[in-house]
């Protein structure tokens, strides 16, 4: 049980696809002008990732190595088409807002990367955990970015108009703001990582100092 939990948690922060590995960036910047869009995109992506990883890890021993990439692409493209059609049918406004980025899930490097490096080497259950971890890792970053951009760019916070419409900073709702907010997200992640590394280092040096003192006392 612990093993599955570790695989799941790995994707959330330590190997977060967006903030740490930095793949699959396109969709994360383009759709995050609104929280609903970010949420929709994250869920669509998680679904495709989950289904592709499960299917490919079930058939991983049957897929010949030399043509594995085309097979992966076909599997991913099929699930993407399913999501695309479902969203067009049941969530037409969301599907319209995201436009071409739903079919573009096919070429999202996160899916290809995880399928190639994880699902083709592990069992279905582990792959499902990995897919969920990576998917939610992607989802929360998307929600975070879109929360900031929606609040500053159009003054809306969870559907409430917090900042009056004539004093919002449209910069954040437009393309440049996407780059800017994402850059800041990476900077904060890096800073947190540094703090943690420094603390670990300090603890280690304290221990060795204590050890040395102990030996000296002897």
């Amino acid at each position: 049980m612990k093993k599955y939990w570790n695989i799941f948690v790995n994707g959330l922060l330590k190997e977060n696809p967006l903030l740490v590995i930095m793949i699959g960036l396109c969709s994360s910047l383009a759709v995050t002008t609104k929280v609903t869009n970010g949420l929709g995109m994250g869920l669509a992506m998680t679904f495709v990732l989950l289904m592709s990883e499960i299917i490919i890890s079930i058939f991983r021993k049957l897929i010949p190595d030399s043509i594995r990439i085309p097979i992966f692409i076909i599997v991913i493209a099929s699930f993407t088409t399913i999501v695309d059609l479902l969203m067009q049918a049941y969530l037409p406004s969301l599907s319209e807002a995201m436009g071409v980025f739903i079919p573009l899930i096919v070429v999202n490097c996160i899916i290809m990367g995880r399928v190639e490096s994880f699902a083709s080497k592990h069992g279905p259950l582990e792959s499902a955990c990995d897919a969920l971890g990576m998917g939610f890792g992607y989802l929360w970053v998307l929600c975070g970015i879109s929360l900031v951009r929606e609040l500053l760019g159009s003054g809306v916070f969870f559907g409430l108009q917090v900042i009056p419409e004539d004093s919002v900073i449209t910069f954040f709702a437009r393309a440049p703001g996407g780059f800017f907010v994402f850059g800041m997200f990476i900077a904060v992640t890096k800073a947190l990582k540094n703090v943690r590394a420094n603390r670990a280092l300090a603890q280690k040096s304290k221990k060795t100092v204590a050890q040395n003192n102990g030996e000296a006392a002897k």
Binding site: P103, L104, A175
Partner: protein
């Protein structure tokens, strides 16, 4: 003719593929560490982009549409792109080894470049005819190449710039990309 020029300018500057539409960010961040690399990637991608549009447009209008299989477009287009990349790779390997050795590395990465798939899908959904689609792909390709080269220039400067510790590394890249994108925002309204 006028329309074609409009489509070209729009896809090249006004709706710049990287800076305004956020497509193909992976090569934009990953491959712009020096100008040679950026140009190589830009040229290779541009070439495949135009070629892919020239293949997928007839495929959609003469095969998928008559058969009522429009819903398969994503699947078919990505396979066409993957196959095209392979073909171009084989062809270059045989006929132009020098060009292959300088471009080969980038070719493999192009299959998962979302700008190409987006261009082929958009030229269908915008309702362009064949010539317009090609011009649209050409304009997008020029925009891609230009942004890549611009970014590699900025990165060369960043190497010797006193960057605050907090944003060192990738964050400053995104901030400069944001500023570049802000500059491109000035082209909005150029084409009505």
């Amino acid at each position: 003719m006028n329309d074609l020029v409009k489509i070209f300018i729009k896809s090249w500057l006004v709706d710049n593929v990287i800076l305004i539409q956020f497509l193909a960010l992976c090569p934009f961040i990953g491959m712009t560490s020096d100008t040679g690399k950026a140009t190589g990637m830009g040229v290779a991608t541009s070439f495949v982009m135009v070629l892919a549009t020239a293949v997928t447009w007839p495929l959609y209008h003469f095969v998928l549409q008559p058969l009522g299989l429009e819903f398969l477009e994503t699947l078919v287009f990505i396979l066409v792109i993957a196959a095209l990349v392979q073909l171009v790779e084989f062809y270059l390997k045989k006929s132009a080894p020098a060009l292959y050795s300088s471009m080969g590395v980038y070719l493999a990465l192009i299959t998962t470049n979302c700008a190409i798939l987006a261009v082929t899908l958009n030229s269908i959904s915008y309702g362009y005819n064949f010539i317009e689609s090609i011009v649209y792909a050409l304009g997008t390709a020029c925009g891609f190449l230009m942004s890549m080269v611009l970014m590699s220039g900025i990165r060369a400067r960043l190497k010797s710039a006193p960057v605050p510790n907090f944003v060192k590394g990738t964050p400053i890249l995104f901030v400069s990309a944001g500023l570049l994108s802000l500059a491109f925002g000035g082209f909005a309204g150029l084409i009505k």
